[in-house]
Amino acid sequence: MINMEVNIAGIKMKNPVIAASGTYGFGREYGQLIDLNELGGISVKGLTLKSREGNASPRIVETSSGILNSVGLQNLGVEYFLENELPFLRKYDLAVIANIAGNTEDEYCEMAKRIGNMVEGIELNISCPNVKEGGVAFGTSADMVFRITQKVKVNCSVPLIVKLSPNVTDIKEIAAAAEAGGADGISLINTLLGMAIDIHKRKPILANIVGGLSGPAVKPVALRMVWETANTVKIPIVGMGGITSSEDAIEFLLAGADAVAVGTANFVNPFAPIHIVNGIWEYCKKNNLKGVRDLKGMLIDK
Protein backbone atom coordinates (compact mmCIF):
# COMPACT_ATOMS: atom_id res chain seq x y z
CA MET A 1 0.00 0.00 0.00
CA ILE A 2 1.30 3.40 -0.94
CA ASN A 3 0.10 6.29 1.13
CA MET A 4 -0.74 9.18 -1.19
CA GLU A 5 -2.06 11.41 1.59
CA VAL A 6 -0.45 14.70 2.39
CA ASN A 7 -1.05 17.27 5.06
CA ILE A 8 -0.20 20.78 3.98
CA ALA A 9 -0.08 22.86 7.10
CA GLY A 10 -3.22 21.22 8.40
CA ILE A 11 -4.95 20.90 5.04
CA LYS A 12 -5.44 17.18 4.62
CA MET A 13 -5.60 15.87 1.09
CA LYS A 14 -5.94 12.33 -0.18
CA ASN A 15 -3.27 13.00 -2.79
CA PRO A 16 -0.82 15.82 -3.45
CA VAL A 17 -2.33 17.16 -6.69
CA ILE A 18 -4.22 20.47 -6.62
CA ALA A 19 -5.91 22.30 -9.49
CA ALA A 20 -4.12 25.66 -9.71
CA SER A 21 -6.02 28.87 -9.08
CA GLY A 22 -7.47 30.65 -12.08
CA THR A 23 -7.14 27.74 -14.45
CA TYR A 24 -9.96 25.66 -13.03
CA GLY A 25 -12.72 28.13 -12.23
CA PHE A 26 -14.73 26.64 -9.40
CA GLY A 27 -14.49 23.13 -10.72
CA ARG A 28 -17.80 23.02 -12.55
CA GLU A 29 -16.44 22.93 -16.09
CA TYR A 30 -13.68 20.38 -15.65
CA GLY A 31 -16.15 18.42 -13.53
CA GLN A 32 -17.96 17.66 -16.78
CA LEU A 33 -14.87 15.90 -18.12
CA ILE A 34 -13.22 14.32 -15.09
CA ASP A 35 -14.29 13.12 -11.67
CA LEU A 36 -13.32 15.91 -9.28
CA ASN A 37 -13.06 13.33 -6.50
CA GLU A 38 -9.76 12.31 -8.07
CA LEU A 39 -8.15 15.63 -7.17
CA GLY A 40 -6.38 16.23 -3.88
CA GLY A 41 -7.65 19.78 -3.84
CA ILE A 42 -8.67 22.81 -5.80
CA SER A 43 -7.49 26.35 -5.41
CA VAL A 44 -10.41 28.32 -6.76
CA LYS A 45 -10.28 31.28 -9.15
CA GLY A 46 -8.82 34.33 -7.40
CA LEU A 47 -11.51 36.02 -5.32
CA THR A 48 -11.85 39.69 -4.56
CA LEU A 49 -14.06 41.41 -2.03
CA LYS A 50 -16.32 42.95 -4.64
CA SER A 51 -17.01 41.54 -8.08
CA ARG A 52 -14.51 42.53 -10.77
CA GLU A 53 -14.75 42.58 -14.56
CA GLY A 54 -11.03 42.09 -15.18
CA ASN A 55 -9.01 43.27 -18.17
CA ALA A 56 -10.01 43.81 -21.77
CA SER A 57 -9.46 41.10 -24.42
CA PRO A 58 -7.28 39.64 -25.84
CA ARG A 59 -6.29 38.11 -22.55
CA ILE A 60 -4.18 35.23 -23.79
CA VAL A 61 -1.25 34.63 -26.13
CA GLU A 62 0.39 31.35 -26.90
CA THR A 63 4.19 31.45 -26.67
CA SER A 64 6.80 28.71 -27.14
CA SER A 65 5.75 26.00 -24.68
CA GLY A 66 3.84 28.54 -22.65
CA ILE A 67 1.02 31.04 -22.50
CA LEU A 68 0.70 34.62 -21.35
CA ASN A 69 -2.56 35.54 -19.64
CA SER A 70 -3.95 38.82 -18.37
CA VAL A 71 -7.37 37.94 -17.00
CA GLY A 72 -7.05 40.47 -14.20
CA LEU A 73 -9.06 38.66 -11.54
CA GLN A 74 -12.47 38.66 -13.15
CA ASN A 75 -14.84 37.17 -10.55
CA LEU A 76 -18.15 37.80 -8.83
CA GLY A 77 -16.71 38.40 -5.38
CA VAL A 78 -16.16 36.34 -2.27
CA GLU A 79 -19.77 36.48 -1.18
CA TYR A 80 -20.99 35.03 -4.46
CA PHE A 81 -18.39 32.29 -4.19
CA LEU A 82 -19.48 31.21 -0.75
CA GLU A 83 -23.14 31.18 -1.67
CA ASN A 84 -23.14 29.89 -5.22
CA GLU A 85 -19.92 28.07 -5.96
CA LEU A 86 -18.74 26.51 -2.73
CA PRO A 87 -21.88 24.37 -2.24
CA PHE A 88 -21.18 22.72 -5.61
CA LEU A 89 -17.60 21.87 -4.62
CA ARG A 90 -18.81 20.52 -1.27
CA LYS A 91 -20.39 17.64 -3.12
CA TYR A 92 -16.93 16.30 -3.82
CA ASP A 93 -14.24 14.81 -1.65
CA LEU A 94 -11.43 17.32 -2.17
CA ALA A 95 -9.81 20.13 -0.23
CA VAL A 96 -11.06 23.59 -1.18
CA ILE A 97 -8.59 26.42 -0.98
CA ALA A 98 -9.82 29.98 -1.37
CA ASN A 99 -7.40 32.11 -3.37
CA ILE A 100 -7.88 35.73 -2.32
CA ALA A 101 -6.59 39.02 -3.71
CA GLY A 102 -7.22 42.47 -2.36
CA ASN A 103 -6.57 46.06 -3.29
CA THR A 104 -5.58 46.86 0.29
CA GLU A 105 -4.40 44.93 3.32
CA ASP A 106 -7.75 45.52 4.92
CA GLU A 107 -9.57 43.95 2.00
CA TYR A 108 -7.46 40.79 2.39
CA CYS A 109 -8.31 40.70 6.11
CA GLU A 110 -11.99 41.26 5.52
CA MET A 111 -12.11 38.41 3.01
CA ALA A 112 -10.26 36.05 5.34
CA LYS A 113 -12.76 36.88 8.09
CA ARG A 114 -15.73 36.44 5.83
CA ILE A 115 -14.50 33.06 4.60
CA GLY A 116 -13.95 31.88 8.16
CA ASN A 117 -13.63 28.12 8.27
CA MET A 118 -15.90 27.42 5.32
CA VAL A 119 -12.94 26.15 3.29
CA GLU A 120 -9.93 24.01 4.16
CA GLY A 121 -7.37 26.73 3.54
CA ILE A 122 -6.78 30.23 2.28
CA GLU A 123 -4.21 31.06 -0.38
CA LEU A 124 -2.99 34.63 -0.13
CA ASN A 125 -2.50 35.81 -3.69
CA ILE A 126 0.06 38.59 -3.42
CA SER A 127 1.52 37.71 -6.76
CA CYS A 128 -1.06 38.43 -9.45
CA PRO A 129 0.79 40.39 -12.13
CA ASN A 130 -2.39 41.43 -13.94
CA VAL A 131 -3.93 44.05 -11.70
CA LYS A 132 -2.84 47.62 -11.17
CA GLU A 133 -3.37 47.88 -7.43
CA GLY A 134 -2.73 45.18 -4.87
CA GLY A 135 -1.76 41.83 -6.29
CA VAL A 136 1.91 41.55 -7.02
CA ALA A 137 2.58 44.92 -5.41
CA PHE A 138 2.32 43.18 -2.03
CA GLY A 139 4.50 40.30 -3.06
CA THR A 140 7.80 41.75 -4.17
CA SER A 141 9.30 43.18 -1.00
CA ALA A 142 10.09 41.07 2.04
CA ASP A 143 8.82 43.76 4.40
CA MET A 144 5.44 43.95 2.77
CA VAL A 145 5.13 40.19 2.56
CA PHE A 146 5.90 39.92 6.26
CA ARG A 147 3.38 42.61 7.15
CA ILE A 148 0.48 41.42 5.09
CA THR A 149 0.99 37.81 6.13
CA GLN A 150 0.98 38.81 9.78
CA LYS A 151 -2.12 40.95 9.39
CA VAL A 152 -4.13 38.41 7.45
CA LYS A 153 -3.02 35.51 9.62
CA VAL A 154 -4.80 36.86 12.70
CA ASN A 155 -8.01 36.98 10.69
CA CYS A 156 -7.70 33.42 9.42
CA SER A 157 -9.58 30.52 10.95
CA VAL A 158 -7.95 28.03 8.57
CA PRO A 159 -4.38 27.38 7.43
CA LEU A 160 -2.90 30.27 5.46
CA ILE A 161 -0.79 29.58 2.38
CA VAL A 162 1.07 32.53 0.91
CA LYS A 163 1.45 32.43 -2.88
CA LEU A 164 4.69 33.97 -4.06
CA SER A 165 5.63 35.80 -7.21
CA PRO A 166 8.64 34.59 -9.20
CA ASN A 167 9.34 38.14 -10.36
CA VAL A 168 11.77 38.80 -7.54
CA THR A 169 15.51 38.93 -7.08
CA ASP A 170 15.64 36.62 -4.09
CA ILE A 171 12.80 34.19 -3.47
CA LYS A 172 14.49 32.91 -0.31
CA GLU A 173 14.18 36.27 1.36
CA ILE A 174 10.51 36.58 0.41
CA ALA A 175 9.71 33.03 1.52
CA ALA A 176 11.45 33.61 4.83
CA ALA A 177 9.41 36.79 5.33
CA ALA A 178 6.17 34.89 4.75
CA GLU A 179 7.23 32.22 7.22
CA ALA A 180 8.23 34.84 9.78
CA GLY A 181 4.87 36.55 9.25
CA GLY A 182 3.10 33.39 10.29
CA ALA A 183 2.30 31.66 7.01
CA ASP A 184 1.35 28.02 7.48
CA GLY A 185 2.54 27.16 3.99
CA ILE A 186 3.92 28.65 0.83
CA SER A 187 2.83 28.12 -2.74
CA LEU A 188 4.85 29.08 -5.78
CA ILE A 189 5.25 30.10 -8.51
CA ASN A 190 2.64 32.48 -9.78
CA THR A 191 3.28 33.66 -13.35
CA LEU A 192 6.37 35.37 -14.73
CA LEU A 193 5.69 38.77 -16.22
CA GLY A 194 6.00 38.68 -20.00
CA MET A 195 4.90 40.29 -23.22
CA ALA A 196 4.23 39.53 -26.88
CA ILE A 197 3.92 41.83 -29.86
CA ASP A 198 1.93 41.55 -33.08
CA ILE A 199 4.51 42.81 -35.56
CA HIS A 200 1.92 43.39 -38.28
CA LYS A 201 -0.33 45.57 -36.16
CA ARG A 202 2.72 46.88 -34.29
CA LYS A 203 0.80 46.46 -31.06
CA PRO A 204 1.15 44.34 -27.93
CA ILE A 205 -1.08 41.30 -28.41
CA LEU A 206 -2.58 41.53 -24.93
CA ALA A 207 -4.93 44.45 -24.36
CA ASN A 208 -3.22 44.79 -20.98
CA ILE A 209 0.19 44.95 -22.78
CA VAL A 210 1.87 42.58 -20.31
CA GLY A 211 0.69 39.28 -18.90
CA GLY A 212 1.74 36.31 -16.82
CA LEU A 213 3.74 33.47 -18.34
CA SER A 214 2.86 29.90 -17.35
CA GLY A 215 3.19 26.42 -18.78
CA PRO A 216 6.17 24.11 -19.53
CA ALA A 217 8.39 27.06 -20.50
CA VAL A 218 8.59 28.25 -16.88
CA LYS A 219 9.17 24.87 -15.26
CA PRO A 220 12.96 25.19 -14.81
CA VAL A 221 12.54 28.55 -13.07
CA ALA A 222 9.70 27.29 -10.88
CA LEU A 223 11.62 24.19 -9.88
CA ARG A 224 14.69 26.21 -8.94
CA MET A 225 12.58 28.53 -6.79
CA VAL A 226 10.83 25.64 -5.04
CA TRP A 227 14.21 24.09 -4.28
CA GLU A 228 15.58 27.36 -2.94
CA THR A 229 12.47 27.89 -0.85
CA ALA A 230 12.59 24.35 0.54
CA ASN A 231 16.14 25.01 1.61
CA THR A 232 15.01 28.16 3.40
CA VAL A 233 11.73 27.54 5.21
CA LYS A 234 10.36 24.76 7.40
CA ILE A 235 6.69 25.20 6.49
CA PRO A 236 5.13 23.06 3.73
CA ILE A 237 5.36 24.06 0.09
CA VAL A 238 2.93 23.70 -2.80
CA GLY A 239 5.02 23.67 -5.97
CA MET A 240 3.73 24.67 -9.39
CA GLY A 241 4.77 26.11 -12.72
CA GLY A 242 4.64 24.10 -15.91
CA ILE A 243 3.78 20.77 -14.39
CA THR A 244 2.38 18.61 -17.19
CA SER A 245 3.35 15.04 -16.36
CA SER A 246 3.97 12.93 -13.29
CA GLU A 247 7.69 13.19 -14.02
CA ASP A 248 7.41 16.97 -13.71
CA ALA A 249 5.45 16.63 -10.46
CA ILE A 250 8.03 14.24 -9.02
CA GLU A 251 10.79 16.72 -9.82
CA PHE A 252 8.96 19.29 -7.68
CA LEU A 253 8.36 16.82 -4.85
CA LEU A 254 12.03 15.82 -4.86
CA ALA A 255 13.02 19.49 -4.89
CA GLY A 256 11.12 19.91 -1.65
CA ALA A 257 7.45 20.52 -2.47
CA ASP A 258 4.90 18.78 -0.25
CA ALA A 259 2.18 19.04 -2.86
CA VAL A 260 1.90 20.28 -6.43
CA ALA A 261 -0.58 22.32 -8.40
CA VAL A 262 -1.45 21.88 -12.06
CA GLY A 263 -2.59 24.89 -14.07
CA THR A 264 -1.96 25.42 -17.76
CA ALA A 265 -1.66 21.68 -18.39
CA ASN A 266 -5.42 21.33 -17.82
CA PHE A 267 -6.04 23.40 -20.94
CA VAL A 268 -4.04 20.94 -22.96
CA ASN A 269 -5.18 17.75 -21.29
CA PRO A 270 -8.06 17.73 -18.81
CA PHE A 271 -6.88 14.36 -17.57
CA ALA A 272 -3.43 15.67 -16.65
CA PRO A 273 -4.08 15.82 -12.87
CA ILE A 274 -5.33 12.23 -12.83
CA HIS A 275 -2.37 10.99 -14.87
CA ILE A 276 -0.10 12.82 -12.48
CA VAL A 277 -1.64 11.21 -9.40
CA ASN A 278 -1.31 7.78 -11.00
CA GLY A 279 2.25 8.42 -12.13
CA ILE A 280 3.37 9.49 -8.67
CA TRP A 281 1.82 6.34 -7.26
CA GLU A 282 3.70 4.19 -9.74
CA TYR A 283 6.97 5.96 -9.06
CA CYS A 284 6.57 5.39 -5.33
CA LYS A 285 5.82 1.75 -5.96
CA LYS A 286 8.77 1.24 -8.27
CA ASN A 287 11.07 2.87 -5.76
CA ASN A 288 9.66 1.00 -2.77
CA LEU A 289 8.48 4.11 -1.02
CA LYS A 290 5.83 3.88 1.68
CA GLY A 291 4.23 7.07 0.57
CA VAL A 292 4.45 10.27 -1.36
CA ARG A 293 5.73 12.12 1.71
CA ASP A 294 8.98 10.20 1.51
CA LEU A 295 9.87 12.03 -1.68
CA LYS A 296 10.55 15.31 0.06
CA GLY A 297 14.21 15.60 0.88
CA MET A 298 15.25 12.58 -1.17
CA LEU A 299 17.14 14.74 -3.61
CA ILE A 300 20.87 14.12 -3.59
CA ASP A 301 22.14 17.67 -4.00
CA LYS A 302 24.87 18.07 -1.46
Binding site: G22, T23, Y24, G25, R28, E29, Y30, Q32, L33, K45, E53, G54, A56, S57, P58, R59, I60, V61, E62, S64, S65, G66, I67, N69, V71, Q74, G215, P216, T244, T264, N266, F267, V268, N269, P270, F271
Partner: protein
Protein backbone atom coordinates in the same frame (compact mmCIF):
# COMPACT_ATOMS: atom_id res chain seq x y z
CA UNK B 1 -19.25 17.70 -23.80
CA UNK B 2 -16.64 14.99 -24.19
CA UNK B 3 -12.89 14.66 -24.48
CA UNK B 4 -12.26 12.01 -27.11
CA UNK B 5 -9.60 10.70 -29.39
CA UNK B 6 -11.36 10.83 -32.74
CA UNK B 7 -10.45 8.94 -35.86
CA UNK B 8 -9.74 11.15 -38.85
CA UNK B 9 -11.74 9.90 -41.81
CA UNK B 10 -10.41 12.40 -44.31
CA UNK B 11 -8.51 15.68 -44.42
CA UNK B 12 -7.91 17.56 -47.64
CA UNK B 13 -7.73 20.94 -49.27
CA UNK B 14 -11.01 22.12 -50.82
CA UNK B 15 -9.84 25.61 -51.85
CA UNK B 16 -6.52 27.39 -51.57
CA UNK B 17 -5.56 27.26 -47.84
CA UNK B 18 -8.98 25.87 -46.91
CA UNK B 19 -9.17 22.32 -45.58
CA UNK B 20 -12.05 20.03 -44.85
CA UNK B 21 -11.60 17.35 -42.20
CA UNK B 22 -14.06 14.63 -41.32
CA UNK B 23 -13.71 12.97 -37.96
CA UNK B 24 -15.67 10.17 -36.41
CA UNK B 25 -17.17 10.16 -32.94
CA UNK B 26 -20.67 9.08 -32.06
CA UNK B 27 -20.93 10.84 -28.70
CA UNK B 28 -19.86 14.20 -30.02
CA UNK B 29 -21.93 13.83 -33.19
CA UNK B 30 -25.12 13.08 -31.29
CA UNK B 31 -24.78 16.13 -29.05
CA UNK B 32 -23.55 18.54 -31.72
CA UNK B 33 -25.63 21.62 -32.50
CA UNK B 34 -24.94 24.11 -35.28
CA UNK B 35 -22.85 27.00 -33.97
CA UNK B 36 -21.01 24.90 -31.43
CA UNK B 37 -17.32 24.23 -31.78
CA UNK B 38 -14.64 21.64 -31.09
CA UNK B 39 -11.45 22.38 -29.15
CA UNK B 40 -8.73 20.44 -30.91
CA UNK B 41 -5.23 19.44 -29.89
CA UNK B 42 -3.23 19.72 -33.10
CA UNK B 43 -0.04 17.95 -32.01
CA UNK B 44 1.42 16.05 -29.11
CA UNK B 45 4.39 18.27 -28.22
CA UNK B 46 4.39 21.30 -25.94
CA UNK B 47 5.38 23.50 -28.83
CA UNK B 48 1.89 24.33 -30.06
CA UNK B 49 0.58 24.21 -26.55
CA UNK B 50 -3.02 25.32 -26.77
CA UNK B 51 -5.91 23.62 -28.46
CA UNK B 52 -7.55 25.34 -31.42
CA UNK B 53 -11.26 26.16 -31.56
CA UNK B 54 -12.91 25.11 -34.83
CA UNK B 55 -16.64 25.23 -35.57
CA UNK B 56 -18.75 22.26 -36.39
CA UNK B 57 -19.57 22.60 -40.08
CA UNK B 58 -21.70 19.54 -40.64
CA UNK B 59 -22.86 16.41 -38.87
CA UNK B 60 -23.62 13.16 -40.70
CA UNK B 61 -24.42 10.23 -38.45
CA UNK B 62 -21.24 9.61 -36.44
CA UNK B 63 -19.16 11.93 -38.58
CA UNK B 64 -18.42 15.56 -37.94
CA UNK B 65 -17.06 17.79 -40.68
CA UNK B 66 -14.94 20.84 -39.94
CA UNK B 67 -13.66 23.36 -42.45
CA UNK B 68 -10.65 25.43 -41.53
CA UNK B 69 -8.33 27.96 -43.00
CA UNK B 70 -4.55 27.81 -42.65
CA UNK B 71 -3.66 30.83 -40.51
CA UNK B 72 -0.60 29.92 -38.49
CA UNK B 73 1.23 27.01 -37.03
CA UNK B 74 -1.75 25.36 -35.36
CA UNK B 75 -3.89 25.09 -38.45
CA UNK B 76 -0.84 24.15 -40.51
CA UNK B 77 -0.19 21.29 -38.14
CA UNK B 78 -3.83 20.24 -38.36
CA UNK B 79 -3.58 20.12 -42.15
CA UNK B 80 -0.77 17.55 -41.87
CA UNK B 81 -2.87 15.00 -40.01
CA UNK B 82 -3.54 11.95 -42.15
CA UNK B 83 -6.58 9.76 -42.52
CA UNK B 84 -6.90 7.05 -39.89
CA UNK B 85 -4.76 8.96 -37.42
CA UNK B 86 -6.44 10.05 -34.20
CA UNK B 87 -6.81 13.58 -32.90
CA UNK B 88 -7.72 14.70 -29.41
CA UNK B 89 -10.96 16.67 -29.40
CA UNK B 90 -13.06 18.34 -26.70
CA UNK B 91 -16.60 19.06 -27.75
CA UNK B 92 -19.21 19.95 -28.63
CA UNK B 93 -18.80 23.25 -26.78
CA UNK B 94 -20.86 26.39 -26.35
CA UNK B 95 -24.27 27.75 -27.18
CA UNK B 96 -25.21 27.13 -30.77
CA UNK B 97 -27.64 29.11 -32.91
CA UNK B 98 -31.21 29.26 -31.55
CA UNK B 99 -33.36 27.50 -34.15
CA UNK B 100 -36.94 28.28 -35.03
CA UNK B 101 -38.06 26.27 -38.03
CA UNK B 102 -41.21 28.31 -38.58
CA UNK B 103 -39.38 31.56 -39.23
CA UNK B 104 -37.98 32.96 -42.43
CA UNK B 105 -34.20 33.07 -41.96
CA UNK B 106 -31.02 34.23 -43.62
CA UNK B 107 -27.51 32.96 -42.94
CA UNK B 108 -24.83 35.48 -43.85
CA UNK B 109 -21.28 34.22 -43.92
CA UNK B 110 -17.97 35.71 -44.92
CA UNK B 111 -14.96 33.57 -45.80
CA UNK B 112 -14.29 30.75 -43.39
CA UNK B 113 -17.23 32.13 -41.38
CA UNK B 114 -19.57 30.21 -43.65
CA UNK B 115 -18.48 26.95 -41.97
CA UNK B 116 -20.79 26.96 -38.92
CA UNK B 117 -23.72 28.10 -41.08
CA UNK B 118 -23.94 24.90 -43.11
CA UNK B 119 -25.30 22.57 -40.43
CA UNK B 120 -27.53 25.46 -39.39
CA UNK B 121 -29.00 25.80 -42.91
CA UNK B 122 -29.60 22.10 -42.91
CA UNK B 123 -31.69 22.27 -39.76
CA UNK B 124 -33.66 25.36 -40.78
CA UNK B 125 -36.71 25.19 -43.02
CA UNK B 126 -37.02 28.57 -44.75
CA UNK B 127 -33.55 29.81 -45.23
CA UNK B 128 -31.61 31.91 -47.72
CA UNK B 129 -27.83 31.96 -47.71
CA UNK B 130 -25.59 34.94 -48.44
CA UNK B 131 -22.01 33.82 -48.82
CA UNK B 132 -19.12 36.17 -49.41
CA UNK B 133 -15.56 35.27 -50.34
CA UNK B 134 -12.36 37.07 -51.23
CA UNK B 135 -11.65 34.91 -54.25
CA UNK B 136 -12.26 31.19 -54.31
CA UNK B 137 -15.75 30.16 -53.24
CA UNK B 138 -16.33 26.76 -51.62
CA UNK B 139 -19.16 24.68 -50.17
CA UNK B 140 -21.69 26.49 -52.38
CA UNK B 141 -23.21 23.22 -53.59
CA UNK B 142 -23.90 22.14 -50.06
CA UNK B 143 -25.69 25.35 -49.18
CA UNK B 144 -27.72 25.07 -52.38
CA UNK B 145 -28.90 21.69 -51.20
CA UNK B 146 -30.38 23.06 -47.98
CA UNK B 147 -31.34 26.68 -48.75
CA UNK B 148 -34.09 28.29 -50.78
CA UNK B 149 -31.80 30.85 -52.38
CA UNK B 150 -28.05 31.08 -52.31
CA UNK B 151 -26.43 34.39 -53.12
CA UNK B 152 -22.68 34.35 -53.61
CA UNK B 153 -20.23 37.17 -53.99
CA UNK B 154 -16.49 37.32 -54.40
CA UNK B 155 -14.32 40.38 -54.11
CA UNK B 156 -12.61 39.53 -57.37
CA UNK B 157 -15.80 38.46 -59.13
CA UNK B 158 -14.51 34.95 -59.81
CA UNK B 159 -17.83 33.43 -58.71
CA UNK B 160 -21.23 35.01 -58.18
CA UNK B 161 -21.53 38.73 -57.79
CA UNK B 162 -18.50 40.94 -57.59
CA UNK B 163 -18.20 42.84 -54.33
CA UNK B 164 -18.94 42.48 -50.63
CA UNK B 165 -21.79 40.16 -49.72
CA UNK B 166 -23.43 42.89 -47.62
CA UNK B 167 -23.92 44.86 -50.83
CA UNK B 168 -26.23 42.15 -52.13
CA UNK B 169 -28.59 41.92 -49.20
CA UNK B 170 -31.24 44.29 -50.47
CA UNK B 171 -34.34 43.19 -48.56
CA UNK B 172 -33.23 42.17 -45.14
CA UNK B 173 -36.62 43.16 -43.77
CA UNK B 174 -38.12 40.05 -45.30
CA UNK B 175 -36.33 37.86 -42.74
CA UNK B 176 -37.38 37.25 -39.18
CA UNK B 177 -34.02 35.82 -38.10
CA UNK B 178 -30.55 36.56 -39.42
CA UNK B 179 -27.51 34.49 -38.46
CA UNK B 180 -24.06 35.76 -39.24
CA UNK B 181 -20.47 34.63 -38.95
CA UNK B 182 -17.38 36.09 -40.58
CA UNK B 183 -15.00 39.03 -40.41
CA UNK B 184 -15.86 41.59 -37.74
CA UNK B 185 -16.38 44.30 -40.31
CA UNK B 186 -18.98 42.23 -42.13
CA UNK B 187 -20.79 41.24 -38.95
CA UNK B 188 -20.83 44.89 -37.88
CA UNK B 189 -22.52 45.81 -41.12
CA UNK B 190 -25.08 43.02 -40.73
CA UNK B 191 -25.74 44.08 -37.16
CA UNK B 192 -26.35 47.67 -38.28
CA UNK B 193 -28.71 46.59 -41.05
CA UNK B 194 -30.75 44.51 -38.61
CA UNK B 195 -30.58 47.04 -35.79
CA UNK B 196 -32.90 49.48 -37.56
CA UNK B 197 -35.44 46.72 -38.25
CA UNK B 198 -37.16 45.71 -35.00
CA UNK B 199 -38.78 42.74 -36.76
CA UNK B 200 -35.44 41.10 -37.47
CA UNK B 201 -33.58 39.17 -34.77
CA UNK B 202 -29.86 38.87 -35.44
CA UNK B 203 -27.43 36.30 -34.03
CA UNK B 204 -23.68 36.64 -34.27
CA UNK B 205 -21.00 34.01 -33.82
CA UNK B 206 -18.02 35.52 -32.02
CA UNK B 207 -14.34 34.61 -32.02
CA UNK B 208 -11.81 35.21 -29.31
CA UNK B 209 -8.47 33.64 -28.36
CA UNK B 210 -9.06 30.74 -26.01
CA UNK B 211 -7.34 28.87 -23.21
CA UNK B 212 -9.39 26.09 -21.66
CA UNK B 213 -12.19 26.44 -24.21
CA UNK B 214 -14.73 25.11 -21.71
CA UNK B 215 -15.53 28.10 -19.51
CA UNK B 216 -13.02 27.72 -16.68
CA UNK B 217 -10.23 30.22 -17.32
CA UNK B 218 -11.94 33.45 -18.39
CA UNK B 219 -9.45 34.41 -21.08
CA UNK B 220 -11.91 34.45 -23.99
CA UNK B 221 -14.20 37.24 -22.92
CA UNK B 222 -16.04 39.75 -25.06
CA UNK B 223 -17.85 42.85 -23.92
CA UNK B 224 -21.61 42.44 -23.65
CA UNK B 225 -24.33 44.92 -22.81
CA UNK B 226 -27.25 43.96 -20.68
CA UNK B 227 -30.12 45.42 -22.70
CA UNK B 228 -32.27 45.77 -19.58
CA UNK B 229 -30.04 47.96 -17.41
CA UNK B 230 -27.46 48.98 -20.07
CA UNK B 231 -24.64 47.74 -17.84
CA UNK B 232 -21.72 46.02 -19.57
CA UNK B 233 -20.09 42.78 -18.53
CA UNK B 234 -17.41 40.50 -19.89
CA UNK B 235 -18.89 37.23 -21.04
CA UNK B 236 -17.07 34.09 -22.13
CA UNK B 237 -17.10 33.44 -25.86
CA UNK B 238 -16.51 29.74 -25.31
CA UNK B 239 -19.50 28.85 -23.16
CA UNK B 240 -21.67 31.98 -22.93
CA UNK B 241 -21.27 32.06 -26.71
CA UNK B 242 -19.90 31.64 -29.28
CA UNK B 243 -23.35 32.68 -30.52
CA UNK B 244 -24.72 35.90 -29.05
CA UNK B 245 -27.71 38.05 -29.74
CA UNK B 246 -26.33 40.84 -31.94
CA UNK B 247 -27.70 43.56 -29.69
CA UNK B 248 -25.88 42.08 -26.73
CA UNK B 249 -22.29 42.15 -28.01
CA UNK B 250 -19.92 44.96 -28.74
CA UNK B 251 -18.08 44.48 -32.02
CA UNK B 252 -15.28 46.91 -31.37
CA UNK B 253 -11.83 46.96 -32.99
Amino acid sequence: MFNKKCKVISNHEIAPSIFEMVIENRDIAIEAEPGQFLHIKVNSGSDILLRRPISICEVNNDNITIVYQIIGKGTTQLSLVRSLEFIDVIGPIGNGFPIDKEKKCAVIGGGIGIAPLLELSKRLKNCDAYLGFKADAYKIDDFERYCDHVIVSTEDGSSGNKGYITDFMKHIEKYEVVYTCGPKIMMKKVKELCHVLPSVTCYISMEERMGCGIGACLVCTCKTINTDDSKWHYKKVCTDGPVFHAEEVELSD
